[in-house]
């Protein structure tokens, strides 16, 4: 439980941090909340010669809505997100999911940006930002760019981030009227990662049919799984039991989970189906209530 030796840096600005990352390349890692990185270092999984602590850089912690966008600073602690009135009133998927991330002590330190940028499909953040159609703002030596959430995840622990880039903001488009989102997560116990989880956002049209849907699955493959086929199936359809069931079935067929303590491949796939159905029901209810 003792990490191998490393150098620790606490840059005062984002540019300094980027400079350090550029200088040290893959031997440097960004330290935000540390709730994923430090446990890995303590178990001596992988090497890291330089920790670049961005935890004190001003301007990375905020939750604000402007011009049709919810903007979450990447350094925003999960506990702050959990208590945000803005988030809880309009973004059901976040309101459902954040209190289920790890445990309350971890949420006091863990950042939402860290949870999103880790590249760990077991984290809840990735499926959520995909379901919400988020844009991820990253800054590196070449400047700032945005990456769509559903193009951010490449492979297990591999994201679109270049070694010198840092995630600075998560931009979530304000859902149109008659929208609802939800997260349903199955875990073995409090604090465990998801055995299966589904993040869903739906928007209804004037007739009450599904105008648009987005479904993403947690821990169902090496990257978060966007169930595109399932979402397309729902477009234009009535939000009834039959269609929900079919969408859930399609979502599950996109899942490629691995067997572990939390379940066999068969079980996890079926749970992706069950949880997608439940998340859809909840999201649709919230959408109808809008």
């Amino acid at each position: 439980m003792i990490p191998a030796p490393f150098d620790y840096h606490r840059p005062g600005t984002l540019d300094e941090a980027i400079g350090l990352l550029s200088r040290h390349g893959p031997d440097a890692k960004v330290l935000a909340g540390g709730m994923s990185l430090l446990p890995a270092l303590k178990l001596r999984l992988g090497t890291c010669g330089h920790l670049v602590d961005i935890g004190r850089i001003p301007g990375l912690e905020y939750v604000k809505e402007d011009a049709g966008t919810l903007r979450i600073g990447a350094g925003t602690r999960q506990c702050v997100l959990a208590q945000s009135e803005t988030v809880n009133s309009r973004y059901g998927v976040l309101a459902d999911a954040v209190p289920l991330i790890a445990d309350p002590l971890v949420r006091n330190r863990g950042t939402f940006g860290g949870n999103v940028a880790n590249g760990d499909p077991a984290n809840d953040g990735p499926a959520i930002v995909i379901a919400l159609g988020a844009e991820l703002v990253v800054r590196g030596r070449q400047g700032e760019r945005t990456v769509a959430a559903n193009r951010f995840y490449k492979d297990l622990f591999v994201t679109a981030l270049a070694p010198d880039e840092i995630l600075t903001e998560i931009r979530i488009p304000l859902p149109p009227p008659r929208s609802g989102s939800a997260y349903r997560k199955l875990k073995r116990k409090t604090g465990d990662y998801a055995a299966a989880a589904a993040a869903v956002q739906v928007t209804l049209d004037a007739r009450g049919a599904v105008q648009r849907a987005c479904i993403a699955l947690t821990n169902a493959g090496p990257t978060p799984v966007e169930a595109v086929q399932a979402a397309r199936f729902l477009e234009g359809k009535a939000p009834d039991e039959k269609n929900i069931a079919e969408a859930a079935r399609l979502a599950a067929s996109a899942a490629a989970p691995s067997a572990d303590r939390r379940g066999s491949v068969e079980y996890k796939r079926e749970m992706a189906r069950v949880l997608t159905a439940r998340a859809l029901k909840a999201a649709l209810e919230r959408a109808g209530g809008n």
Binding site: M1, I2, P3, A4, P5, F6, D7, Y8, R10, L31, G34, M35, L38, P39, L41, K42, L43, L51, D53, G55, C79, P99, A102, D103, P104, L105, V106, N108, R109, T190, G191
Partner: protein
Amino acid sequence: MKHRINVTVNGAAQEAEVDSRLLLVHFIREQLRLTGTHIGCDTSHCGVCTVLLDGQPVKSCTVLAVQADGCKVSTVEGLETGGKLHPIQEAFTEKHALQCGYCTPGMLMTCSALLERNKSPSEQEIRQAISGNLCRCTGYLNIVKAVEYAAHKMAGGVS
């Protein structure tokens, strides 16, 4: 790599030189010799190392000492003030909320922080708040009762 840090621990300013990789829990236990905070696992699950960092309960085994530079750290030794026990400490004894005592310091810190932000937590809220602190002895029920008792006392109630 060594760093000079300034941490306020239980109200007292501490200046120290620490290695980059020194965990906050080891800084507290070994350098400051405050051994009330304990270590129970190696994967950041058990919570027996819980301290308050700027008033927030955190797992001190998953914080580097350098990250605590400029911060306030509160440990179980600091709960008592001027020889007077914190209501949660009295409540733990009153309600038999401890047996072996190993998870107790971390549990006390989490519960004290809970009562700071929620004057009258429900049973479910208490269980949620302590869900990052494992206990193998008590079965948790008496801990819940202790928090309810302390909340009642802190609100001026009589037993």
